[in-house]
């Protein structure tokens, strides 16, 4: 009836939680659970992706281990969650990349960086030494080539992500998606953007020692908004190039550089903070086998930010060329591994929040009727 040991366990736990309901006010998982009486794999994937892993329900649970009912919802749903990314990944054969995710990401980063180094060398521009002094990246790699390569990587990632998320959405559906999804999407954007459900019902995340802390939420904001700013920096630079004909390099005060600098700082502080606060999490909540999965993604985000900032500082120095290869290699690897790593959690969770908002509206309308 269930495909994995973890989903069987999640089914057992949801049956217990559904007869208790004390955690109803903590987050979205429990109200969503209450709308169901039995739990398919699709339902469990939906509930698992609603869970932000704050650990409050574990801290509050009278049936947590060592109680014989052994209720540990955050840890079980964390396993089901990663299983769901793998189950819905496109193409299907790629699901293997989730299993050895740390290795996958490391190989991608190494190959990416090496690829750019070799590329710069093969397509060496005779005026290369000049490039270093002027900060002219495009002497090393023509802008069109850069756009083509990263555009292709980005499109590939986008396609794979979209197909995976679509399967997730469909399998979690109990009924046809109702109308007025736009309101639900807006609600989900607010909930995701503020990490509404990573606050432990108001008290913060469950840590190994009291008191609770809310630092994961803060560092996640650094990371997520840092990432968005970096993305915006690239987008603005692309518009500058094609619409205004303004070519890089840009001055430090120009929009692409300021956005990228602030975003880069976020991508350095955020992942470091998340990795550090991950170490203070209550050990009972941590699934040791999947820690590499989280760390690989954090490492890639950190390296993207750090090499970006490094490149900015070194753009007129002799180490610009290896810095550029490193930065482009890391970012390229980040893009191609996006559909097969922790990055997908954002999309799956967002989609789950949209469904939750829809159900909420649905039941509100029923109440009014």
């Amino acid at each position: 009836m269930h495909s994995t040991e973890a989903s069987r366990e999640a089914d057992r736990l949801m049956t217990i939680c559904n007869s208790c309901r004390y955690c109803e006010g903590l987050c979205a998982v429990f109200p969503a659970m209450e709308r169901l009486r039995s739990f398919s794999d699709g339902d469990l994937g939906y509930l698992a992706n609603l869970c932000h892993g704050c650990g409050a329900c574990w801290d509050d649970c009278q049936f947590a281990p060592p109680h014989e009912f052994r209720v540990n919802v955050p840890k079980t749903l964390a396993i089901v969650r990663v299983d769901s990314y793998r189950a819905y990944a496109w193409p299907a054969a790629s699901s293997v990349l989730f299993v050895r995710n740390g290795l996958t990401v490391a190989v991608a980063a190494t190959l990416g960086t090496a690829g750019f180094m070799v590329g710069f060398w093969i397509f060496a521009d005779p005026e290369r030494p000049v490039a270093a002094e002027t900060g002219g990246f495009y002497r090393l790699m023509p802008h069109d080539a850069m756009v083509a390569l990263f555009g292709a990587a980005f499109l590939f990632a986008l396609t794979a992500l979209a197909l995976g998320v679509r399967r997730f959405w469909r399998e979690g559906a109990r009924r046809k998606a109702p109308l007025r999804a736009s309101l639900s999407i807006w609600q989900a954007m607010k909930d995701a953007g503020s990490l509404r459900y990573l606050d432990g019902g108001g008290a913060g995340c469950a840590t190994a020692d009291a008191p609770m802390s809310d630092r994961r939420r803060l560092y996640h904001h650094f990371t997520f908004y840092g990432f968005l700013l970096c993305f915006a920096a690239t987008a603005v630079a692309t518009l500058y190039h094609f619409l205004l004909g303004r070519e890089a390099p840009y001055a430090w005060y120009d929009l692409p550089v300021t956005l990228g600098t602030i975003g880069g700082i976020g991508l350095v502080i955020g992942p470091l903070g998340l990795a550090a606060s991950g170490r203070t999490r209550a050990p009972a909540l941590v699934d040791q086998k999947r820690q590499g999965f989280d760390l690989a993604f954090l490492a890639m985000l950190f390296l993207s930010g750090a090499t970006g900032l490094g490149l900015l500082m070194a753009r007129t120095s002799a180490v610009m060329e290896p810095m550029l290869a490193l930065h482009l290699g890391i970012v390229f690897a980040l893009f191609v591994t996006m559909p097969y790593g922790k990055f997908v959690h954002g999309l799956y969770r967002f989609v789950a929040l949209v469904r939750y908002a829809q159900e909420d509206r649905g039941s509100a309308e029923q109440d009014e009727a």
């Binding site: 007869s19 309901r21 004390y22 955690c23 006010g25 509050d60 009278q62 109680h67 014989e68």
Partner: protein, 465 residues
């Protein structure tokens, strides 16, 4: 590591809601406080870990309460549920204090939320703990520890030294050692004896072997027994306990809320001979929920079976174990270990007696039986649509009523009628003063918080004087 040789101003025995409220209040008043808890850390707090709300009077609606609940209305409810078995002076004092406790407890870090789904009837009167009783307890412990209250787990009290009504020291058993802990004052907040099967047997005989205990195995009433044996006055009927019918498959101890069954009113309940024995539809469920433990306890083997059909399956809250299910009544009887002919005969007789009416699962409807003994007064519908379902049920003991007598200062009263100088009691161990019988949702926590806070305050006052 705790220094157990140093006498404390206040020794609190029992680390549940009442004990923690006492510890926090005493510490805030400047006293040094040690809490000794019989259970290991995870199981600390006795029945508090299974609670979910408290009932406090309040003048107006709040973020989490839908309307006012006056002292007069609280008093009326208390008189109704206890049938008058309450100490009016103490009860009115508690109700008045409960108003302030509602805000005081929130200042100690306890968070509230609107009433849970399925409990809307309590949304005006009862404040629900965000995350339930263990969340509430964790918040109190965090606050207490931050204030400098010390806590020792796995440390049951095995004796109290009491001289002429004065507490001198407590003997605890900790890691195989007996340790004497001296303190200027004692706050006993160590609950009742519901998990002490031998004690229950004094009143129930061997039937008590078939009882399930809804809370932890640590609620053994050791301190209650010592105090009553050393001159403290008793109150409350020792034979009384709060018992509900819970799933017979529940663990012996600590199955908590998730083994309760809310489907009695939608089916019939038979004994192990397959015969009905009480009107299942006498009143709406919340008003009759607490009589079924005693009813089942009175049946042979202390077991009964709720039987219903497909039409009722989704009318009640799901519970931990799925019901037994079968395509026919004889098959269901076999699955439950009942005589198929007897169960079929009981259901046929019941079905014959059902008169048509307008079924209303939410209120007293007009679906009753005619000419049936015992009758089913409401929600009587023919049991005829397969699949058929059954739950085996046993008495689930929640708490006991036997208590130490106290006064308004939460001081224990001695058998001589004199108040004890330095001994206080709070929570279930003295609940019988206010709640001589019956139950109203959340009132156990009110008793614990109000008298815990008073006991802590008074103990500190005495100790620091």
């Amino acid at each position: 590591m705790l220094d157990l040789t140093k006498p404390r101003d206040v020794l609190v025995v029992g680390g549940g809601n009442a004990g923690l409220c006492a510890a926090i209040a005493a510490r805030r008043a400047g006293a040094s406080v040690l809490v000794v808890e019989a259970a290991p850390k995870f199981y600390r707090g006795g029945n508090t870990r299974h609670t979910r709300n408290m009932r406090c009077a309040h003048d107006r609606a709040t973020d989490t309460l839908t309307g006012p609940y006056s002292e007069a209305e609280f008093w009326d409810d208390l008189v109704r549920v206890t049938g008058g078995a309450t100490d009016e002076e103490l009860a009115r004092f508690m109700i008045a204090e409960s108003k302030e406790v509602l805000t005081w407890i929130a200042r100690q870090g306890v968070r509230f939320q609107p009433s849970l789904g399925g409990t809307l009837s309590l949304g005006r009167t009862n404040s629900f703990f965000l995350g339930g009783g263990r969340a509430m307890l964790n918040a109190l412990y965090r606050t207490a520890e931050a204030l400098g209250v010390e806590a020792l787990y796995d440390a049951p009290v095995v004796d109290l030294e009491i001289e002429e009504g004065r507490f001198r020291w407590a003997t605890i058993e900790c890691r195989g050692e007996r340790i004497e802990i001296g303190a200027t004052t004692l706050v006993a907040a160590s609950g009742g004896f519901e998990a002490n099967i031998d004690w229950l047997k004094q009143y129930w005989g061997d039937a008590a072997d078939n009882f399930l205990i809804r809370g932890t195995p640590y609620n053994r009433g050791a301190v209650l027994a010592i105090l009553l044996g050393k001159g403290v006055a008793r109150v409350g009927d020792p034979k009384q306990c709060h018992a509900v019918a819970i799933d017979a498959r529940a663990p012996k101890f600590d199955g908590g809320i998730i083994t309760r069954l809310d489907c009695v009113v939608f089916g019939i309940v038979v004994d192990r001979q397959g015969r009905r024995f009480y009107d299942e539809g006498e009143e709406i469920w919340p008003k009759r929920y607490a009589i079924w433990g005693r009813l089942v306890a009175a049946q042979p083997g202390q077991i009964a079976y709720i039987v219903f059909d497909a039409s009722s399956l989704e009318l009640f809250m799901p519970s931990l174990y799925p019901p037994y299910a079968a395509a026919s009544l004889p098959e269901l009887a076999a699955a439950l270990g009942l005589d198929p002919a007897a169960l079929t005969a009981t259901v046929s007789e019941f079905n014959e007696a059902v008169r048509p009416g307008r079924f209303d699962p939410a209120g007293l409807d007009d679906c009753g039986t005619v000419g049936l003994t015992p009758p089913k007064s409401h929600w009587a519908r023919r049991i005829e649509t397969a699949p058929f379902y059954g739950y085996p049920v046993r008495p689930g003991i929640t708490f006991t009523y036997l208590a130490t007598r106290v006064n308004r200062e939460a001081r224990m009263v001695l058998r001589s009628g004199e108040p004890a100088a330095n001994m206080f009691a709070a929570g279930e161990i003295m609940a019988g003063n206010v709640l001589g019988r019956g139950y109203a949702a959340g009132i156990g926590m009110t008793i614990g918080s109000v008298f815990g806070r008073v006991a802590g305050r008074e103990a500190a006052l005495y100790a620091l004087d």
